[in-house]
Structure formats: structure tokens, C-alpha cells
């Protein structure tokens, strides 16, 4: 018996007192008296509201028919200490207290009202699977197993959070996932000393290679098909109880421009969509900067007719182009954030007020030029083409930095910004994998499947970036 651990007593009332003490005399803790078939009195404890009524009723009704160690429910587990019993109660299990010999057992009767499997709103698709994860870890694991019914799929459960004791599951594929990366993940998980694990982002921040970067070093997804795809690449998934977002690792920069739907379309369409997203990412980051640099430093580069139009539109605007640009980008971010936070019923009103009334009025009042409205709108729309990962937000933040550099140094500033950015990105690692891979270090063959979408029959090998144990997806003649 460890120090600080409390044993159960022969007197059930004493054991109940210990449990009440450990559970802070919570009013929702319920104790019910029952007898086993042998006539031995037992106590059944559970937390009101955390249990599935049907399972609980069945347990209560059938308790007297069972022997002292014969329970009809799943993970019956003998508990040796009162602290373990308290943990189980908090996790939604029912605890049966015995007097002879003194002890307890936990039975899974968890039943919390959760939403069903729906299409994830943040990763919707036109073509492809429509199921998304929910807040239930069990359901999420079942979904992955449904999409990939392979005995090689390995699930390792852990509890993280000194107080929250949140269940997490680490998913890998035996014979594919690199054991050293898996081991490194467990080492990093061991180091998490937080008292509360709420959602997957906390895990991301604890286990990322660089906690000070705004670029996502781990991927987050709500889609089981994406998780299965990642597992087959040799990556690892971390699921957290209570969140539909699953963490995938390692993650490289160019994966931010991929969505699972690419593989649901013909490879020409998939490739075109990927290229379009990369192009939109560049526009999202650089268009305001190039606009400001061009119309304040490099007027000669614009075709005369276009410059004349821009100049005519800019004529009544009293602000420098950079101020105009920042104002529009800032206004766009406000409208976007308001649109996300507002209830859906009035979100539409916000977008109409923002886009039509504010934009039109600002142009008519001569505060911003129509061209700037076009630039800001195009930039904003382009960022929406990217999957809604943290990369999306990082690119939006970079807009401001690049535009500032453009305003003081023109194209030289933009190029300097790009060079610094690329250097910084090249210095990042995700679980030891270079963040700019396969572009740097350069691997032409793998880059083709990142920038464009190769036909599935060409993808004989898994990406070497993730150091899969078995580098081949299939070989000639393999079934």
C-alpha cells in the first residue's frame, strides 16, 4: 500500500464515510444498499447525472443475482484503495463496496448526453466521408476502428491532468509507425504536469518542439478519414476525452495546404485544388504587401492604364496606402471574428452590414479606395480557402508584418520578410521532422505528392519524412 492511500474497511459505513470524504461530501454522490446472492450487503455508489440510466437500473436490479465477483458489465476492475474508487466515481463509473473481504469494484455505467456523429463544420467537404469526431473518446476510437479495421492499429490509453485525470488515447499502427517517435511522444506526455487538460490544444502546447512559435507544429483534425490517412503515413494520433479535435503528429508546413477531399477527386482536380490553395496562401500573405509596395515605391512596374485607374481611385483618400491597408485588414479581421462569435441568426446581418454598408460607405466617404477594398476582400477570401488550422491564422498575422515591411522598404522589404520567414520555418522541427520538408531538405519525388496530388497507384512508398518502419504502402503483386 502506497503512502497516502486509504484501504477499505470491513464496516461499509466506514468505507462510505471515507469515499464521501474523498469526494468532498458532494451532494450528487449517491449510495444505494443492495445484497448479493450470498446475502452479503453491498453499497453501490455513483455520481448522479454521470450514469446511463438503463445500465444503472440493470445493475441495481441484477446485483442480488450475482456472485461477489461476477459482474455483467465491461471493465470490471477490482479496486484496492479508496482513492482509486474516488477517481472511478469522478470518471462516471459505479463503485460497488464490499465488506467481506473489504474492497470495491468499478463498473462502467458512464452515460453523458453527447451529440451524434455529424459532419464537422470546420472541415466540411463536397465529396468524401461526412462523419466527424464527437466529444466521446470511446466513439472517436470506434470511428477510427470503423474506418480502419486493422488488428495492427494500436491504442494506448493514458490519463493526463493531476486533477482532471483526462483520458487520452495514443493511436499508432504497429509495423508502420516509427517506435522512436512513439517513444518520444510518450516521454513528452509524461512531462505534462498540468492539473487540467481541457481540449487538445493544451496537449499540443505541452508536447510541441517549439512552444514559442505561432506556426502549428502539430495538426488538428475532426475527420476520422484524415486520422486514418495520417496513421497510414506513419504518423501518430492523440485523442483527448471531451474534444472532437484529434492531434496528428509530426506535421510539416506544406501539409497545411492539403485537405482530405483532395483524394476524393480525380488527381487532376485534386492537384489543381492543392495548387490553388498554395496560390491563395501566397496571396493571403503577400497581396496587401505587394499592393502597398507597388503603389508607394514601384509605380513604374504597374501598366499605365492600371496605375491611372488606381491613382484615380486613390485620389480622394487622405491616408497613406499602408494606413488604408492596415485599416481594411483590421476591419476584415473584426468582421470575421464577429461573424464566428455571433449567433448564426445575426451573423448574416453582421456580414451584410460589414461588407455592404461599411465598405460602400467607406469608399463613398473617400476613406478607402475601391482598389484597397478589392485587395482586402481578395486577401480575406483567399485565406478562407485554406483548411482552418492554426496556419490559417498565422498567415493572417503575417499579412500585417509583410505589409509593414513593404511600407518601409518596398519590394526589398517584402523579399527580406520572405527570406527571414523561410529561414525561420527551416529552423523549425515537428518531432524531429524538418518543418519545410520535403521542400527543404529537398526531395523532388515526395514534393510532387505534397504540391500536387499524385495518382494513388504512384504512391508506392510512404513519405520518408515520417520515418515509417515499413516504407512501402504496397509492392508489385502484393495483395
Amino acid at each position: 500500500m502506497n503512502r497516502g492511500q486509504t484501504e477499505f474497511k470491513e464496516d461499509l459505513r466506514a468505507s462510505v464515510g471515507i469515499l464521501k470524504e474523498l469526494m468532498q461530501h458532494s451532494d450528487d454522490l449517491v449510495f444505494i444498499d443492495r445484497e448479493l446472492a450470498s446475502g452479503e450487503p453491498i453499497k453501490i455508489a455513483y455520481v448522479h447525472g454521470l450514469t446511463d440510466d438503463r445500465k444503472l437500473e440493470y445493475l441495481l436490479a441484477k446485483a442480488k443475482e450475482f456472485g461477489d465477483a461476477d459482474f455483467p458489465f465491461g471493465s470490471d476492475d477490482r479496486l484496492s484503495t479508496a482513492e482509486q474508487a474516488a477517481d472511478c466515481l469522478a470518471a462516471g463509473q459505479a463503485v460497488l463496496l464490499f465488506s467481506d473481504p473489504p474492497g470495491a469494484a468499478a463498473i462502467d455505467v458512464l452515460g453523458v448526453q453527447l451529440r451524434g456523429v455529424e459532419e464537422p463544420s470546420s472541415e466540411s467537404t463536397v465529396k468524401g466521408p461526412r462523419s466527424g469526431f464527437t466529444e466521446s473518446l470511446t466513439n472517436n476510437l470506434a470511428l477510427v476502428r470503423y474506418f480502419c479495421p486493422s488488428p495492427q492499429l494500436k491504442v494506448q490509453h493514458r490519463k493526463i491532468g493531476r486533477l482532471s485525470r483526462t483520458n487520452i488515447a495514443v493511436l499508432s499502427v504497429a509495423g508502420v509507425t516509427n517506435p522512436r517517435i512513439l517513444e518520444e511522444l510518450h516521454l513528452r506526455l509524461d512531462e505534462i504536469t498540468t492539473d487540467l487538460l481541457l481540449g487538445s490544444t493544451t496537449i499540443e502546447e505541452w508536447i510541441a518542439d517549439n512552444r514559442g512559435t505561432m506556426f502549428p507544429l502539430l495538426e488538428s483534425t475532426e475527420r476520422p478519414d484524415r486520422v486514418v490517412g495520417a496513421l497510414m503515413d506513419g504518423r501518430i494520433a492523440v485523442m483527448v476525452q471531451g474534444t472532437p479535435f484529434v492531434v496528428l503528429l509530426p506535421f510539416v508546413f506544406l501539409q497545411a495546404f492539403q485537405v482530405g477531399e483532395d483524394y476524393s477527386w480525380n488527381y487532376y482536380i485534386g492537384s489543381m485544388l492543392r495548387l490553388l490553395r498554395i496560390f491563395c496562401g501566397l496571396i493571403g500573405m503577400l497581396l496587401p504587401a505587394f499592393y502597398v509596395a507597388t503603389i508607394t515605391f514601384h509605380h513604374e512596374l504597374v501598366p499605365t492604364a492600371l496605375l491611372q485607374s488606381i491613382a484615380a481611385a486613390k485620389e480622394p483618400v487622405p491616408f497613406p496606402a499602408v494606413v488604408e491597408s492596415f485599416a481594411m485588414m483590421f476591419a476584415f479581421e473584426i468582421m470575421r471574428e464577429a461573424g464566428v462569435r455571433m449567433p448564426k441568426q445575426i451573423g448574416q446581418a453582421v456580414s451584410i452590414v460589414g461588407a455592404l454598408i461599411l465598405g460602400q460607405a467607406a469608399v463613398e466617404a473617400g476613406i478607402v479606395s475601391p482598389i484597397m477594398v478589392i485587395v482586402a476582400a481578395l486577401t480575406g477570401i483567399c485565406t478562407f480557402t485554406l483548411p482552418p488550422t492554426a496556419m490559417n491564422y498565422a498567415i493572417r498575422l503575417l499579412q500585417f508584418g509583410m505589409t509593414f515591411l513593404a511600407s518601409i522598404l518596398g519590394y526589398v522589404g517584402v523579399v527580406a520578410g520572405i527570406v527571414v520567414l523561410l529561414t525561420y520555418l527551416a529552423s523549425l522541427r515537428s518531432f524531429g521532422v524538418p518543418y519545410l520538408g520535403p521542400a527543404a531538405p529537398f526531395n523532388a519525388l515526395e514534393l510532387t505528392d505534397v504540391v500536387i496530388r499524385r495518382p494513388a497507384t504512384w504512391n508506392v512508398k510512404r513519405p520518408t519524412l515520417f520515418r515509417a518502419v515499413n516504407p512501402y504502402r504496397f509492392r508489385g503483386g502484393d495483395k
Binding site: S309, P316, A321
Partner: protein, 381 residues
């Protein structure tokens, strides 16, 4: 160490701020110059005109290239001084980099073009693709002219240059073309001519522009004006003709003609020098034409008639080129780069000829062979 690092960051940021901010100019602090005119000034100086587009006021819709223009004028002892002094009449900085066309007065060219070309070369603001025109008269008249649907004359000048592709009466010539020929010395330069016409249809005393012919140079000096037929002959010989129209008189009729569209023109020049040092230039021209119109009384097209037309067209095209050769010999202007061709083919002979090339060139013997083919008669029976 950390303090030094921070100081380095601050100094870098300050350096960036201090070095960069001077180079930027907001668009509403600029006047966009669309075209430039050059006239002779007093005491050998230069009078400079700049066509600047007016911008719509805040309450009006932006009109882009449909805005009205105004002309700024200044005079200086040289082009740079005149350009700099123009700022005293302008409330905004002048943006020269968007200049579409430069119009040079013939009188400037008569004084020698070398100085002006040199100045333009040193002006880094001008694009290499800026078009160059010459006018017999004041360049200001050209800048003030208004073409229908293009109130900015620079746009009219660009449009007229592009029209040369179908008329073969002008050819776009850019600053780069002039620099290239000037520096390499391979051939003499030519600059398209522009004329100002009264717009009789407008009825408001408006003026129209017309681009026909070239001013040819002999080295630094203006040699002469090449009229339409000579210009067409030059473009054919120089293999720069893309399309044109030709006509032949109907046999036995007056006031009627058969019209052809020249769809292809390919010329090949070969040179040789005989023992007495006289250059012989042989030019072969392949021309494809289509029959596009006939006002003759009998227009029944027969193979014999086509053969006859082809023969007449051979003579007509050869005649155009002969006119050009006569012009170039008379004005001693080697626009086809015959001297350079001799230099490349007979380098040893060229060493003996190059000093007297201006005298030798007019003695050159030109022979032309034209192979005309009428592809389509486009007449259905």
C-alpha cells in the same frame, strides 16, 4: 550579451526605417506623365512638354484612361534641366516612368540627335519600351491632339503604332530599338513620323493624329523623310512587314481596281562585293496575298487571271522596294545594315571599305526578286 542583442535589433529597425521611408511616394502626391514632347528652345536649349492626366475628383467615378489631360511646359539648356525645372510649375512630383511615348520635333533632330539620345539613355526613369515619334512641327501640337475615345494622346500614339501591323505604313520604335542601333552601329536608325490633322468630322476644331512614314537618319544627322510607299518598301526589305493592302488597276478600265490583302511577307537579303569593291545586294521576297475586293466590270477569276495578277504584284512590290533603295542611296542611309552584313561575310574586305562606307553605299547594286502567291480569291461562284 542580451542587451547587445536588443541594441542590434533596435539599430537594425532604425536603419530600415531611416533608409526606406525616403523612397516612397503616395499616388496622390504624384502626377503621372503619359507622354513627353521635345521642341527646340532658345539659345540651343530644349523646350519640354509633359502630358499629365487629370484625375477625377472624389465624388466622381474613377475614369482611368478616359480622363482629360493637361500639358506642363518648361525650358532648359538641356533635357535634364528642363525636366527638373518643370517641378516649379507642378504641385506634385512628376512620375516619368509611365511615359508611353516621346515625341521629338524635327527641328531638334536637325540640330543632331546624339545629345538627346544620350540624355534619354541616362534618364533611368524611362522604360525601354517607351515609343519614340518625330513630328514636322511642334511636339506640343501632338500632345494636345485628342483622338476619339482616347483623350490621353499617349494612348492614341500607342494605338497608332500597333496599327502599323495591318497597314505597313508605320512601325513601333522604342527607346531600346534606338539605343540598340545607336550603340551597335549595325544600321542607321529610323523614327516613325506623326502628323497632326484637323478633325473635319468633329466640327469643334479638334485635331487628329496620323502615323505614316519614317524619318531616316544618317548617323547622328537627320537624312530625310520616307513617305508611305518608301516606308512600305523599307518594311518589306527589312522583313518587318506583317500585313498590308495592295491594289492593281483593272485591265482596260480607269477608276476601278482589284484589292489584295498581303498576309505574309518574308524577305531574305544576301550581299556580295565584286572585285572593284562595289557591293551587290540581292533581296528575295516571298509574299502571300488574298483577293479581297474588285470593282472591275468583269471579275470572273480564272487561273490565267491569277497568274497575271501575280506577275503585276511582283512588279508592284519590287517597285516599292526600288523606291526605298533609291531613297536610301540618295540620302546615304544604310537602314538595312548592308555594311554590317558585308562586315560579317567579308571581314577582310570590310576593313578596306568601312572608312568610305558612306560613299560606297550609294554605289551598291540592289536586285529584287519577288515571288507572289495569291492564296485565296475568296469569291464564290
Amino acid at each position: 550579451m542580451r542587451g547587445a542583442g536588443r541594441l542590434a535589433w533596435v539599430l537594425t529597425a532604425l536603419a530600415l526605417l531611416c533608409s526606406g521611408c525616403r523612397g516612397n511616394l503616395e499616388l496622390n502626391e504624384l502626377h503621372i506623365v503619359h507622354s513627353v514632347g521635345l521642341d527646340p528652345g532658345k539659345n540651343g536649349g530644349v523646350k519640354l512638354y509633359a502630358e499629365v492626366a487629370k484625375l477625377a475628383s472624389g465624388q466622381q467615378q474613377p475614369k482611368g484612361m478616359q480622363n482629360r489631360t493637361f500639358i506642363l511646359t518648361s525650358e532648359g539648356s538641356n533635357l535634364f534641366e528642363a525636366a527638373r525645372l518643370m517641378r516649379v510649375k507642378s504641385d506634385r512630383t512628376l512620375l516619368w516612368g509611365q511615359t508611353t511615348a516621346i515625341v521629338i520635333s524635327k527641328d531638334i533632330a536637325l540640330q543632331g540627335m546624339e545629345r538627346q539620345i544620350e540624355t534619354f539613355r541616362r534618364f533611368r526613369q524611362f522604360r525601354n519600351t517607351t515609343l519614340v515619334y518625330m513630328v514636322d512641327g511642334s511636339s506640343a501640337e501632338v500632345l494636345k491632339a485628342e483622338m476619339p475615345n482616347s483623350s490621353i494622346s499617349a494612348q492614341a500614339l500607342r494605338g497608332l503604332a500597333e496599327g502599323g501591323e495591318s497597314t505597313a505604313l508605320t512601325d513601333p520604335t522604342s527607346l531600346l530599338d534606338i539605343y540598340k542601333d545607336w550603340n551597335n552601329g549595325f544600321r542607321d536608325i529610323k523614327i516613325p513620323s506623326i502628323k497632326v490633322l484637323k478633325d473635319r468630322n468633329g466640327g469643334k476644331g479638334g485635331k487628329l493624329l496620323k502615323a505614316v512614314g519614317f524619318f531616316a537618319f544618317r548617323g547622328n544627322r537627320l537624312a530625310g523623310f520616307m513617305p508611305a510607299r518608301v516606308s512600305k518598301g523599307y518594311l518589306r526589305a527589312a522583313d518587318r512587314l506583317k500585313s498590308s493592302s495592295e491594289k492593281l488597276a483593272c485591265p482596260g478600265e480607269s477608276g476601278t481596281s482589284v484589292a489584295f490583302e498581303n498576309t505574309k511577307n518574308k524577305s531574305r537579303i544576301s550581299v556580295s562585293v565584286n572585285d572593284s569593291g562595289i557591293p551587290s545586294v540581292r533581296i528575295e521576297v516571298d509574299a502571300d496575298l488574298n483577293l479581297v475586293g474588285a470593282t472591275c466590270e468583269d471579275v470572273t477569276v480564272t487561273p490565267e487571271m491569277i497568274a497575271d495578277w501575280e506577275k503585276q504584284l511582283n512588279e508592284e512590290i519590287a517597285g516599292q522596294m526600288d523606291d526605298f533603295f533609291a531613297f536610301s542611296k540618295r540620302h546615304k542611309t544604310d537602314l538595312l545594315g548592308i555594311g554590317e552584313r558585308i562586315h560579317r561575310k567579308h571581314p577582310q574586305r570590310w576593313k578596306q571599305m568601312k572608312d568610305d562606307w558612306a560613299e560606297i553605299y550609294p554605289t551598291s547594286r540592289f536586285s529584287v526578286t519577288v515571288h507572289t502567291r495569291i492564296d485565296h480569291t475568296t469569291f464564290t461562284v
